[in-house]
């Protein structure tokens, strides 16, 4: 595919000099947008899988301490266990509560006299249950109790995540379109600059594909160089972001690790960009040459 010898002096074209930079920038943006989209997609799936069919019951302590928090928890558990469709209802252990609160309040928060509510993790055995009815029964038995139906806010969060994902894919599409437009411009400029040479080759009996192949190889070479640079830059950025994320307290930053398949897909971005650039250049030149006699 790579020619060591060009009949057309395309390497000298000023218009071609900035193409690797543009491709590098576009590959960089496309990889970051795609990676962001993948992280968001994974996060949404994890939320969906982890929270669908679950409820969280908050049992706050009463100001006067009567009945005790433990007694209130037991009352709530009684209602929950008596409700059909609930397979599991377990209060969070003190160490689980501590690890949940640690990012915000620091270690040892539970040992203080903070009026921290108790949490009961509820798993439903399948399908949805009448959450409103359950909440009413719980409040009747344990005043002040809160039922957190994840499905309600999970739907909104997932919608936002999907929207951000679509925006990221839109960025990739825009970046791709801009790359195609640039390659068309560079190819047309090359044809205009080297018109006499192109005409000479045509008169000598060069088929259109012979001339187009030279443009295609030239653009492919530039796109590969730009693509590699963009990929390296994106890899460095992602590494830096992952490192920065790791330094924050656990739980505040989403998990930004990607699977090998996702990394392979990202590695395909410069490859796709190079092939897209080469094909675009070829089609542009073939179309222009079709106007010659």
């Amino acid at each position: 595919m790579f020619r060591t010898h060009y009949d057309l002096p395309l390497q000298r074209d000023v218009t071609g000099r900035f193409l690797p930079w543009i491709i590098a920038l576009m590959v960089y943006l496309a990889i970051l947008a795609l990676a962001g989209s993948m992280v968001l997609s994974d996060m949404a799936q994890r939320w969906d899988k982890g929270l669908a069919g679950t409820l969280t019951i908050q049992v706050p302590p009463l100001p006067d301490g009567t009945p005790t928090l433990d007694a209130r928890i037991q009352s709530a558990l009684g209602v929950l266990h008596a409700t059909p469709g609930i397979s599991k209802a377990e209060p969070l252990k003190p160490e689980q509560m501590a690890s949940l609160l640690e990012p915000w309040l620091g270690s040892g928060a539970l040992s203080t006299d903070l009026p921290v509510p108790a949490l009961i993790d509820v798993t439903m055995s399948g399908g949805r249950i009448d959450v409103r009815g359950l909440a009413q029964r719980l409040r009747a038995a344990v005043p002040g109790v809160e039922v957190d139906d994840h499905a309600a806010w999970l739907k909104d969060v997932l919608a936002i995540a999907r929207a951000v994902e679509m925006v990221a894919l839109g960025v990739v599409a825009l970046v791709g379109s801009a790359a195609i437009a640039t390659v068309i411009f560079v190819s047309r400029a090359g044809l205009a600059i080297h018109g006499p040479v192109v005409e000479l080759l045509h008169v000598m009996g060069a088929p259109d594909r012979y001339i187009a192949r030279q443009f295609q190889s030239h653009v492919l070479g530039l796109a590969v160089r730009g693509g590699l640079a963009g990929t390296l830059l994106a890899a460095a950025t992602m590494f830096a972001l992952t490192r920065a994320g790791g330094e924050f307290s656990a739980g505040l930053m989403p998990d930004m690790s990607l699977t090998p398949v996702q990394l392979l897909a990202l590695a395909g971005v410069p490859l796709t960009a190079a092939v897209l650039a080469a094909v675009t250049s070829r089609l542009t030149v073939m179309r222009a040459l079709a106007r010659l006699p």
């Binding site: 005409e199 000479l200 080759l201 008169v203 000598m204 009996g205 060069a206 012979y210 006699p293």
Partner: protein, 220 residues
């Protein structure tokens, strides 16, 4: 034939070139010699009329069928049209590469031909470093390297002295003996008289045939 909406530069031109014949094409400047050559090397399509090339009606051929016909035609352009960024060797190799010849054969044949036209020491020189005469010989070598069926030359001896001019004409004659049909557009009456081949005279866009001169002085 006309360019765009301009006046007709060639009209009522009708002729047949038998395979293996040798012709001079003459006429005053602006008579239409270059336009006729452009039609013959298929760089233009006629605005009306019929061109039959190697047994094919050019107008009825598909566009994709024209390149093989063009590869059977060698052209020496008046202004050479050498590619400045390529060496003499690569310029001459161009038609072979276009035809898909193997690189080993290309280099061997091109070097041999360039040596024959006296440029054996300039294989890797760029056109800009060659004299006008040397550039002309590179252009001629490029036109004949594929042993075309038809060779069209526009003032091929315009920039060389008589000795080189004669040598080039002998090269064309050798090619003609191998079966190539030759058409040379020239103003050089001395060459026309000495070689005495049939003459086509263009005058105000119309063509007149003059037969081969019986009294031509042949140079051995």
């Amino acid at each position: 034939m006309r360019y765009g909406t301009g006046p007709e530069v060639l009209r009522d031109v009708s002729f047949t070139l038998e395979p293996g014949t040798f012709h001079f094409l003459t006429g005053a400047s602006g008579a239409g010699k270059s336009s006729l050559l452009r039609l013959m090397y298929l760089a233009h399509r006629p605005s009306r009329g019929l061109i039959t090339m190697f047994g094919h009606d050019v107008a009825s051929l598909k566009r994709a069928e024209l390149p093989p016909l063009r590869r059977r035609i060698g052209v020496v352009f008046q202004n050479f049209r050498l590619l400045d960024h390529l060496s003499a060797l690569d310029n001459v190799a161009l038609p072979l590469r276009v035809a898909g010849a193997k690189e080993g054969q290309v280099r061997e044949h091109v070097a041999e031909l360039l040596s024959w036209v006296g440029l054996g020491d300039h294989l890797h020189d760029k056109p800009a470093t060659l004299s006008g005469g040397q550039q002309q010989r590179v252009a001629i070598a490029r036109a004949v390297i594929t042993r075309p069926s038809l060779l069209l030359a526009d003032e091929p001896t315009g920039n060389v002295d008589d000795r080189i001019g004669m040598r080039l004409l002998h090269l064309f004659e050798e090619l003609n003996k191998l079966g190539t049909t030759i058409v040379i557009a020239t103003h050089n009456e001395m060459l026309i008289e000495r070689f005495g081949y049939a003459r086509m005279v263009l005058d105000k866009g119309m063509l007149q045939h003059l037969p081969r001169s019986a009294a031509a002085t042949r140079i051995a």
